[in-house]
Symmetry: C2
Subunit: 140 residues, 2 copies
């Protein structure tokens, strides 16, 4: 199968609260929204935010509102961009998980949870190229 | 901030078990792997699979091994590709969540969980274009 993910969908409690976080925190605009879902056009795929129980009903699995073992990362261009970006997310309703510091594998990063508890890493990783479309390529 | 996600990282219990699912089920090859993490080059971003407690330690948040409200989707080119793709994932160690059927919003889809419980939707969605690089564009 093509090495491709078409959508990442996050279950949310309130579309208005989630929309405010992503629009004010990240500055992102949905390409589509209705009463229960908003899609953001990302770098080659979609980010979906879907009010539950819509997503649970679609998956046919009841989810728990507890911290779960996965995270999404947004990379910034410069080390000095990490902390201001995290601050903007916190002011838009995010919760601090980890203050920015340098991991053993290099770069600089911190973590913020969105209003529904979905974890975001904000990272500067000089080894990974990001082109003007936001397409990220693995590098060492 | 650029409308960009650089990495989706999934916490896993065993790299060998996860690697077997992604290589035999999806047919994907890591671009990098060591003893605790494997990265797959996706369509404009990375998929990371990281043995816990590595990811939890990095996030500084202890995760629970329970179903959580998010999912990843892989889109296929034809409606007839959905069920064989799901079958291949089940044979590689996945668990069926929802047999494929037609959702109200159109297309055809089912859900399979990976060996660590991460939910995957396998979908045919004729409204969303996928180019030869796997880049997905929102369409209606």
């Amino acid at each position: 199968m093509q090495q491709q993910i078409s959508v990442i969908t996050l279950g949310i409690a309130s579309l208005a609260r989630s929309r405010a976080f992503y629009s004010r925190g990240f500055g992102w605009t949905p390409v589509f929204e209705n009463d229960e879902i908003a899609f953001y056009q990302m770098n080659g795929f979609m980010l979906g935010t879907w009010v539950n129980p819509g997503l649970d009903g679609d998956m046919q699995r009841r989810s728990e509102q507890v911290p779960s073992a996965y995270c999404l990362a947004h990379n910034v261009a410069d080390k000095a961009d990490v902390e201001p970006a995290m601050q903007q997310l916190l002011e838009a309703g995010g919760t601090l998980l980890r203050k920015a510091d340098a991991p053993p594998h290099g770069g600089f990063r911190g973590y913020v949870a969105d209003p529904d508890g979905h974890a975001w890493e904000i990272a500067w990783n000089p080894a990974w190229a990001i082109d003007e479309r936001g397409l990220v390529t693995f590098g060492v």
